[in-house]
Symmetry: C2
Subunit: 591 residues, 2 copies
């Protein structure tokens, strides 16, 4: 069975040494209750939960999967007990407001706990994650009465939450959904329609499930401006908080999937189910996007968690597996063969995965700190700048971390040779489970379109210019240190290339709007590499001059990233320059 140990040392390095978390928290009055000692204790506890409670039911959950009979969904053996334990320890409310029973921890903390639980058991993790996402959307848009009634139960894990967006004919294009909301005399609505791909739509973990459902009022305008958001509980809730009648919101079936088989993905049928408006009429998409942005960051973390776990297993296998001899002479002459680690290509694979993991962890923390600024800063200018930066980086975190996370799982699997293809070893499960992260919560192509269109071209590159200015300011602090020249130069080069390419795409797009989508994915990958280079520069600065092999290895891995992985940036931008004609010149019938 696969192993997993939470990478606490690396997490502390990023949190404390790269981002100086204590100083940040102390400088924000709203976060002064947080300190690195408390956080360290939290991480250690979550490490135990991940390693000892969640990881042990990851393989078995995949083999068993979920089942449905007469609308009743059963999760794999052990999930119910693990959820109870997880909920009772207060983990679901770790990042929630204290007024609703949460522990008020900032994103800089939950980004690390999310990594651990995704690494240990992504199928399990989706259940509490969707609850948190739904609760967040409600906290911002629902009435105080609803929130007082629902949120404490959701954060305590007595109830769960879902998001119901997709319909059979309507995925990315939510403007064409058909689910209807008919106003009722009591101010509530009758919701009717079919939703698909509903994570945790039905299960046996909680006594109630709170669905957030996108639907259209009878007189709603066409398209995405006519979508409203409704709360539809599985069981209606009485005024005293006890459960009332069963609402006709039920799972018709569960999907048979490539991976995350322990997560129940449901087709949900709403048959005049009673629903309550959340936020304003026809502004449902905006309310839902609170949740979507939160989920998107988490999906990025899913990619990271999986590839961290995959790395640990591949490294252990490579260490122990004896096969062949070093090209420079036997390194273990007393053994029948040398460790796989004598082969440069095996190391190359492992280091690619690890360089991704460490950059991704740092990047997630960077994004988390900015998210925390949007929420906790008392300076409106800081908060607004942070909101702009989050808007720019959210699609990058989601798409880049999951694309590279998937590639990393495939690469780690490759280290195992034939054993990587065998289910019992668990490596192929990382590949299958991680694949979904590139697809759900907006496919990575849609993320790239969002980045290139709304976050870059639409504002004429202002967000990018500000990001690059920050990078240059930071990079200036590395100048003159010979030990950091390699990353200093690489980062400036990468920033310059992105700067030029950004202007080029914007100019092209002014002539032809198709240029945006044609450039999007290559641009996102090049941009992701710039972000990773920036993170490696931050980590290098934190590591340089410190007298421990831990820090020397950070610099070595930064060097590996710079020389071995960063060159892709140039070819991505070269590909992008082929423009939209190269794809649009074919007739539809060609395909």
């Amino acid at each position: 069975m696969p192993i997993y140990k939470a990478p606490l040392r690396d997490m502390r390095f990023v949190l404390n040494e790269v981002f100086n978390a204590d100083a940040f928290w102390q400088s924000n009055p709203a976060l002064s209750h947080v300190d690195s000692d408390t956080v360290s204790a939290i991480l250690e506890e979550m490490a135990k939960v991940s390693e000892n409670v969640l990881a042990p039911i990851n393989r078995s959950g995949d083999e068993e999967g979920c089942s449905i009979e007469n609308g009743v969904v059963t999760t794999p053996k052990g999930f119910k007990e693990a959820f109870k334990q997880y909920a009772e320890a207060g983990w679901i409310g770790l990042g929630a407001d204290e007024q609703f029973g949460g522990q008020g921890m900032p994103k800089m903390v939950t980004v690390m706990t999310d990594e651990m639980i995704f690494a240990a058991n992504p199928s399990f993790t989706l259940y509490p994650l969707l609850s948190i996402g739904a609760a967040m959307a409600m906290a911002q848009h629902a009435t105080p009465e609803i929130n007082a009634m629902y949120l404490p139960k959701m954060y305590s894990g007595e109830w769960a939450g879902t998001m119901c967006l997709t319909e059979p004919h309507s995925g990315t294009d939510l403007g064409i959904i058909r689910t209807k909301a008919e106003p009722l005399a009591d101010g509530s609505y009758a919701i009717s329609g079919t939703k698909i791909f509903i994570t945790g739509g039905e299960h046996d973990l909680t006594e109630n499930i709170v669905h957030l459902v996108l639907a259209k009022l009878p007189d709603a305008p066409a398209g995405s401006r006519g979508i409203s958001l409704f709360l539809v509980p599985k069981f209606l809730v009485n005024e005293d908080g006890s459960l009332g009648a069963r609402n006709p919101a039920a799972a018709g079936s569960i999907e048979h999937k490539m991976g995350i088989k322990g997560s129940a993905t449901c087709v949900m049928n709403f048959d005049s189910a009673k629903g309550f408006l959340i936020g304003k009429v026809n502004q449902g998409l905006a309310a839902m996007f609170v949740m979507m942005n939160y989920e998107r960051l988490s999906m990025g973390i899913q990619g990271l968690g999986a590839s961290e776990a995959a790395y640990q297993n591949a490294a252990a296998y490579a260490r122990d597996r004896l096969q062949g001899r070093s090209a420079t002479g036997a390194k273990m002459p007393e053994k029948m063969a040398d460790s796989l680690l004598v082969h440069p290509d095996v190391r190359r694979m492992l280091l690619r995965v690890r360089a991704h993991n460490e950059a991704a962890r740092c990047f997630a923390m960077y994004a988390a700190q900015i998210l925390d600024q949007t929420k906790y800063s008392d300076d409106p200018a800081v908060s607004q700048a942070a909101a702009d930066r989050v808007a720019l980086l959210t699609p990058v975190v989601k798409a880049y971390l999951t694309d590279k996370g998937f590639d990393a799982c495939v690469e780690a699997q490759q280290v195992f040779g034939g054993h990587g293809f065998i289910r019992e070893w668990g490596m192929e499960q990382y590949v299958r489970d991680t694949r979904i992260a590139q697809i759900y919560e907006g496919t990575n192509g849609v993320q790239a379109q969002d980045l290139m269109g709304r976050k870059v071209a639409k504002n004429n590159g202002v967000f990018v210019a500000s990001f690059i200015a920050e990078i240059r300011d930071f990079n200036a602090t590395l100048a003159g240190d010979a030990n950091l020249a390699f990353i200093h130069n690489a980062l400036e080069q990468a920033a310059k290339e992105i700067e030029v390419a950004t202007q080029w795409v914007i100019e092209q797009a002014n002539r032809n709007p198709d240029e945006i989508n044609a450039a999007a994915v290559d641009y996102l990958h090049a941009f992701g590499l710039l972000c990773y280079a920036y993170m490696w520069a931050k980590m290098s600065k934190a590591a340089v001059g410190k007298d421990d092999v831990f820090y020397a290895d950070k610099l070595r891995l930064a060097q590996f990233f710079t020389t071995r992985m960063l060159p892709e940036l140039t070819s991505r931008l070269a590909s992008l320059k082929s423009g939209s004609d190269a794809v649009m010149n074919f007739e539809m019938s060609y395909f």
Copy 2:
């Protein structure tokens, strides 16, 4: 359920218009019985078999998988009947010598039929494929008596064949196998040991199974020079060809795998099983490599077949799925949304897959023609040059076509959005089934090591120089045609970059042998891109000036390849230059 139509038009284009097969066959007396009309009829028949017999049991075979009870393996529903039909039509012997009941078709033909059956049903395909591989090794190394007895039965599909190499502790490194062969008084051997990952080691498709087993004699030298090859039939064969006693060569279990679940992958226990030496004592690896090289080309075709099938499904889905609107204004205003094909990024994904498929098909044919020269040419100089070229290209075909084939399946799956993750759509099966092709028959890392070490550095780049000279000769014929300038220039640039990088690696390797393996995978990918550029140049030359949209589209796709995909070559070579220090400088304990 997924669709599949054999791409006959494209196959004929490559065979007849790019490679002028008729002229080639007529110029080789040993192949004068082959002509394009006959081949066309064969392809049409095989298209029917693939589309109507094999494809329909691909999804169900994956869902059902193989099972074992008391050593008896049952293949999925329909496999037995399909195998019977396939065998009785003579397909297994299509490429076999007529003296053993084969049809004597050259590799230039079977490379296309292999593509079809791999596209339709890779799990099924492995059963006849392993038989053919085993038969080929026997044809070259076994005694005439053994061949007369066994080969006709194997080509007729009455019996099947396997290759038994891997042991639990011994995969890539075959020098450390432990299976023993004790000489018996009658000249045969008692074979004892455990082999794993044995494709088709046991099944219910044939009345007998012929295992080719690597084992060591008691006095064998250590390492790979002490390995001999043995024929170990499941049932011993009487002198009259009838079946005799059950040999103690049995399946202990079957593996639970990520994919190719309809293919029985067995743990085989040999318990003093009677075996017969094939070829010379201690020269088993060389004999087995006849089979390995054949298999390696076929594995490349597996990658191609899967991505062709994946492309067809993704293109059909993109055409039919209505979602969102074109950035340049609605293209289907009467519909609720436009086809996915209005989105440049969807086209980008589809075109990447298709540009790979067409280049891979052409490259496989190119390799097949050279293989045919090694076998059929009556000019020893041509035959030797062809053998050298095959040696150079075999690892590239195997690794590059499967790496890109896997990526292509993932990309085609992405076109489906959430539906790509659902088993019923079949896209995720292409991904799972194709993943193994990067691993078995020598992992792609091992292929890259073979290319960089034995095929490039060891002969000081002579094979590469000769290949590049051929490319330049060909490319000179494109000079001056303005319609071909784009590919002419791109090909020369790619050839030059590979030329320089080859010299660079060889020089580095002279100082440090680790440089070979450190450079191997990036070199192979850059080399693969050069090969694809060469194929696109060949296809462009065959298409230019012809008055049909079919040909105009070939040139458009060549352009897409050149501007959108070829730039990766440069970054691969930049990465490679980081050298081995970047990976070897870490202590073993770091991992």
